[in-house]
Amino acid sequence: MEGLTLSDAEQKYYSDLFSYCDIESTKKVAANGRVLELFRAAQLPNDVVLQIMELCGATRLGYFGRSQFYIALKLVAVAQSGFPLRVESINTVKDLPLPRFVASKNEQESRHAASYSSDSENQGSYSGVIPPPPGRGQVKKGSVSHDTVQPRTSADQQEPASPVVSPQQSPPTSPHTWRKHSRHPSGGNSERPLAGPGPFWSPFGEAQSGSSAGDTVWSGHSPPPPQETWVSFADTPPTSTLLTMHPASVQDQTTVRTVASATTANEIRRQSSSYDDPWKITDEQRQYYVNQFKTIQPDLNGFIPGSAAKEFFTKSKLPILELSHIWELSDFDKDGALTLDEFCAAFHLVVARKNGYDLPEKLPESLMPKLIDLEDSADVGDQPGEVGYSGSPAEAPPSKSPSMPSLNQTWPELNQSSEDTAIVHPVPIRMTPSKIHMQEMELKRTGSDHTNPTSPLLVKPSDLSEESKINSSVKFASGNTVDGYSSSDSFTSDPEQIGNNVTHQRSHSGTSPDNTAPPPPPPRPQPSHSRSSSLDMNRTFAVTTGQQQAGVVAHPPAVPPRPQPSQAPGPVVHRPVDADGLITHTSTSPQQIPEQPNFADFSQFEVFAASNVNEEQDDEAEKHPEVLPVEKASDPASSLRVAKTDSKIEEKTAASVPANVSKGTTPLAPPPKPVRRRLKSEDELRPEVDEHTQKTGVLAAVLASQPSIPRSVGKDKKAIQASIRRNKETNTVLARLNSELQQQLKDVLEERISLEVQLEQLRPFSHL
């Protein structure tokens, strides 16, 4: 490669550019990413860029050394001037203008141009502009850049002084410290916090809006925040350049700024963009938000009422319409008050808006209120990743906001169905509760306590309806058409009533001679009962699992032993047919009674339950006899359907036994819950037959191990979430059990019908 001769202006310009790209301060190699951004900013076609790279030798070398870089820049200038790219041309073309690197944002260009053209010395420009990260800004053509190069270099030296000079306005300390801080090339931060003077690279993030191949560093920058227009709460100079900070420096800056902001409360806006996700709140930002929250509401777990929030955010001088929209986005649970998470999200959105970001249509994933403690930042970081970038598909066309070209890169990633995060929609059932799911439910629970009562209500209906079906089948002979509500009454209230039902059923028919213990009734999840039996149990099932946690905690009701639904038809079928059958049934029923005392033998069940978790259904069936006492009414049924339904019953009993076991062992919290869930799930989750036993076993084990869960969201969130998870598992188990029981019920009903037909056929003869 022939030697390159550069004019003085070119020399300076190129060295500046090189320094800009030299993020590692090696003085030898320009970072490929930066260089690529630079070249893209040159608005040259990609193939030209590649050609340039080849020509300058970087492709060969694999990196951009200083000479390669200079050659490349020269070639860029050549290309921009329209000359063909030749190696010779770098020296032959005379009077080549300096390569132009265009900012996609003219606004910033003009601003920067104005800022540092107006005073080539850098200090004054700080007043309106916070130094964007290293070397950002406009490359002035020709002499302008030439001039600016010098001031910039001088600016470097003056920088130590600048912090002192510039921010004569308010939140001064933060920018200073920030700048000072950023000037130290901290690990990859070769930024030159130059405000006015110096060649500002156009926001490369914008330039490479389509390509994130380059340094993703810039992805978060950009919005050349209308800095002059950005008004902090206290009319302090816009710190919007924060947005343009290198992510690495963000932390530094924000920490510094946080300190400063503490002194100037409400006056400083933190950066609203971060590395990957423009909406992610950095820790420092979050800390600042939390501090602000505390000024309004000292209790971090409390709420900020709407009026206080309104005053607070009105100070930001955003238009009311936008504040209204921000509120809509951030008030996740629509309760008219802001929790800490909601407040942080709102604050973040305000900051973003002030920095020029357009408001999203939906709340970005990273701003979703999380139920994780602030200390648990790891989870916070995980959350956005876990749930995916749902919730912001609408943000993908923030192309409506040309000010955020960098965001365009990141937001296309965020296109996933927002089903998971839409709290207002029925939440799909999850077998393995996700964090967000639990949080949603937590949120719903905390945000709208009225949903709590509904969860037991929702749970109950299915239980009741199931019970009603059972009862109706039981009382069929008696012509009793019990509707869901009335039958539910008997179940809803107390164990005694349940016992009444049991006895009622027992009176109709004995238990089956089969001693395979019917599965114990799943413990009732909620003490309260709802009447409606026509609810979307899937939704309630999924939604209320978390709520049930709280409900369980709050109302650790005693679980009435519920007779197995499968048992009910058995007696009915037999009764009309055979008196002997009745006798046998009744004979078995007494058996149940003496066995009943065993019902309280939860220790036995606990062991059983614990061992059930991973056992096969057959094994569980074997243990049914132990459980049988618990399920008195189930005996008759099981005796009837020995052939086909026994296994199911056994599964059921096994399943319910663990439930009962756990129920007994944890009298305070869960006892009612498993039963309720089982009932509830019976209605809705029929197809899930296979996993009943396993589920119930799991359920029992889970319940057995559950400690009483503190109700308050703020405490032991992890315990709550864990218990929520467990409860969900038990829920699914119970759901399967429910479906199994439904199947059994159907079978029994069929038998009954066939038997009645036979009876009809026989009856005429009997009269003879």
């Binding site: 009311i320 319409l321 504040l323 209204s324 008030d331 629509k334």
Partner: protein, 139 residues
């Protein structure tokens, strides 16, 4: 499946009115305006009746040859009026009710927003999107 949705304040001025743009919107505005009389009539007929969910929903206010107008009033005398196309396969009453329920929920969300002054026009984007979802089903 609405072709026009309107939210009328207690004092009978519109807080929000939106129609499918294809149609002559003025016609819908007139229809909504005339329906206010019917609404008032129904409200007064109710008298001091208990205000439960059932009675919040006023039902079909009046039919025209092309459209049907349904009404719903909240406890605070804010009225929702919905114009649906008669040519649509007859919308079940339940569907209309559910649409009004959604409207009501969205309206309360708007109310909860501290930045919303009661009596202002409703400019909430969430409300808009909800109404759009209701109207888009028609097309």
């Amino acid at each position: 499946m609405a072709v026009c949705v309107a939210v009328i304040a207690k004092e009978n001025y519109p807080l929000y009115i939106r129609s499918i743009p294809t149609e002559n919107e003025l016609k819908f505005h007139y229809m909504v305006h005339t329906s206010l009389d019917v609404v008032d009539e129904k409200i007064s007929a109710m008298g001091k009746a208990l205000v439960d969910q059932r009675e919040l929903y006023l039902g079909l206010l009046y039919p025209t040859e092309d459209y049907k107008v349904y009404g719903y009033v909240t406890n605070s005398k804010v009225k929702f009026v919905m114009v649906v196309d008669s040519s649509n396969t007859a919308l079940r009453d339940n569907e209309i009710r559910s649409m009004f329920r959604k409207l009501h929920n969205s309206y309360t969300d708007v109310m909860c927003n501290p930045f919303y002054n009661p009596g202002d026009r409703i400019q909430s984007r969430a409300f808009d999107s909800m109404v759009t979802s209701m109207m888009i089903q028609v097309c």
